[in-house]
Subunit: 105 residues, 2 copies
DNA sequence: TATTATTATCGTATATTTACGATAAACAAT
DNA sequence: ATTGTTTATCGTAAATATACGATAATAATA
């Protein structure tokens, strides 16, 4: 896409847009819901609940992990993913702040 | 990107991911902030405040409008954009709901 | 009507995202 | 050691996103 101009914005703006990008696919929204509801959170269980191939789910998990919304813990040959509470709260707070004030022309 | 699988998800999930996608670029985050702070909200003023060409800004505005986060009102040859309070509140509520419950493995 | 000002759209180049099969890597268990 | 299970990564194809210059469209004004 031509040369990116992201550097021209603040790190706060870039971080918030990165979080939003992580939420910008329904499969990743669904994954967050699943992790919220399940006790077990191994990848296989998530794959079973989604209409996507294992490789694709793994990619989505990677993106959620990249921005810190989830974290993965190794458990034998399996990996147990879970929500990253602290970062979710941070994201929620930042989004709230963005949406709180309303002014209009 | 291969054939999209978005149809496999709920309309709520798709809507929320579309809102997130609209927020997934720092320029659009900045635009929302600008609209929140300015009285005047014509496109030219927004372009002046961003390190992007007019055509690019117009494209970003179009995406924000598409998901209903902003609206544009024709004012002579100019167009006055402003935040769409009702939809912003709706988005904020949905994001809050997604982030409110935390469970972990 | 011609000109100016303002904004959207078109065309286009490049980057990124999405999706999947195939394969590799890591570990447990036989 | 070999096998089976689980997950990540590689390679790849197709769709989208980003960015801009050029141009069209709209409306006010001279």
């Amino acid at each position: 896409m031509a040369i990116s101009k992201k550097d021209e914005f603040t790190s706060e703006e870039i971080w918030l847009s990165d979080v939003a990008k992580a939420l910008s696919h329904p499969a990743r929204i669904r994954i967050l819901k699943i992790l919220n509801e399940m006790n077990s959170c191994m990848v296989g269980s998530i794959v079973d609940k989604l209409p996507l191939a294992q490789a694709t789910v793994s990619q989505h998990l990677k993106e959620l992990k990249k921005v810190g919304l989830i974290e993965g813990e190794i458990d034998g040959p399996k990996i147990c993913y879970c929500l990253h509470n602290k970062n979710l709260i941070k994201a929620k707070t930042a989004l709230d702040k963005l949406f709180t004030k309303f002014g209009c022309c």
